[in-house]
Point group: C2
Chain length 203, copies 2
Amino acid sequence: MTRRPVLEFWFDFASTYAYLSAMRIEPLAEAAGVDVRYRPFLLGPIFQAQGWNTSPFNLYPAKGRYMWRDVAREAERRGLPFRRPDPFPQNGLAATRVALSGADKPWCGAFVRAVFHAEFGEGRSIEEPSAVAGLAGSVGLDPDQTMKAASAEPNKMRLRAITEEARTKGVFGAPTFFAEDGEMFWGDDRLERALAWAAGEDA
Amino acid sequence: MTRRPVLEFWFDFASTYAYLSAMRIEPLAEAAGVDVRYRPFLLGPIFQAQGWNTSPFNLYPAKGRYMWRDVAREAERRGLPFRRPDPFPQNGLAATRVALSGADKPWCGAFVRAVFHAEFGEGRSIEEPSAVAGLAGSVGLDPDQTMKAASAEPNKMRLRAITEEARTKGVFGAPTFFAEDGEMFWGDDRLERALAWAAGEDA
């Protein structure tokens, strides 16, 4: 058996368009014969480096108004629930640490979908560690062990390193997809093409 | 015969993604049974109002690098030529005035495509009035009469008014599409959905 090609899915839990991608990437990747590699990171430091202290959707109100309408419209078209969390953006640090601690584990996709569903499907807060522990429990993880592993120093350092890696690779938003040859695709609208590229159809 | 639905196509000649849309909107609209209404305007004043003195693709280098790669990749996939003009963004004032003066004329689409093709298909300058006059001539217009009508005071005022209308309607980038019920779609990636909405398929 030859190894299946891999597509990296870089995302921040505050991203509405990453929600749209997270809820469909696994079946699409399966159909394309591609494996998904979850790459959770924090957009905050990248935004701060370009002078933004919050989401560009808050800084630029016209763009923000459109984004909420566009995501609601797309979610409806796809049969996905959508509800805006308050505040936006949510601080996803605790959830991101858990996702990163499980990035190579079979449960990662289920946890990522549980977080995004709570945040944007139900408009619930994902900020408190207790909320994140509850979501970990909801996908069959041991909440205490999971939170402990997530907040262990090596995992915190790993999150700082992956966020720096995102910046170095030219990531400026989420979702961003990388094929193994380094080809980069930005945005939920490019997910199909990223998978086709990873599968070698466009190479 | 019932009147066909209309989709407004708001664009700035400096927009690479508006180039992608301009080169395909008419056959797609025809297939959808929708009429295209050309709405040329200037993004510059809208960008300036949010503190940008040039294209965001220049202000945010990581985003800019990705954009050039993405547009080149999309153009290749569609069999469209693509070449980056220097400088970018081009000053499209003269071309925009001509397009606006013909916004309700049968030649508007051909002129818009001629400008975009010169600018992004061949990487030529569209800044000088002589270049714009040449492009007008290339689609069968009288260059002198066209340039004179374009720079007449009522047409200049109309350009200021439509640019202000864009801002009022919440336009923050190009291309932007509006259906007759006011539904807004931003980006070449939303062209198909904008046409479906205008045609009543998603209403």
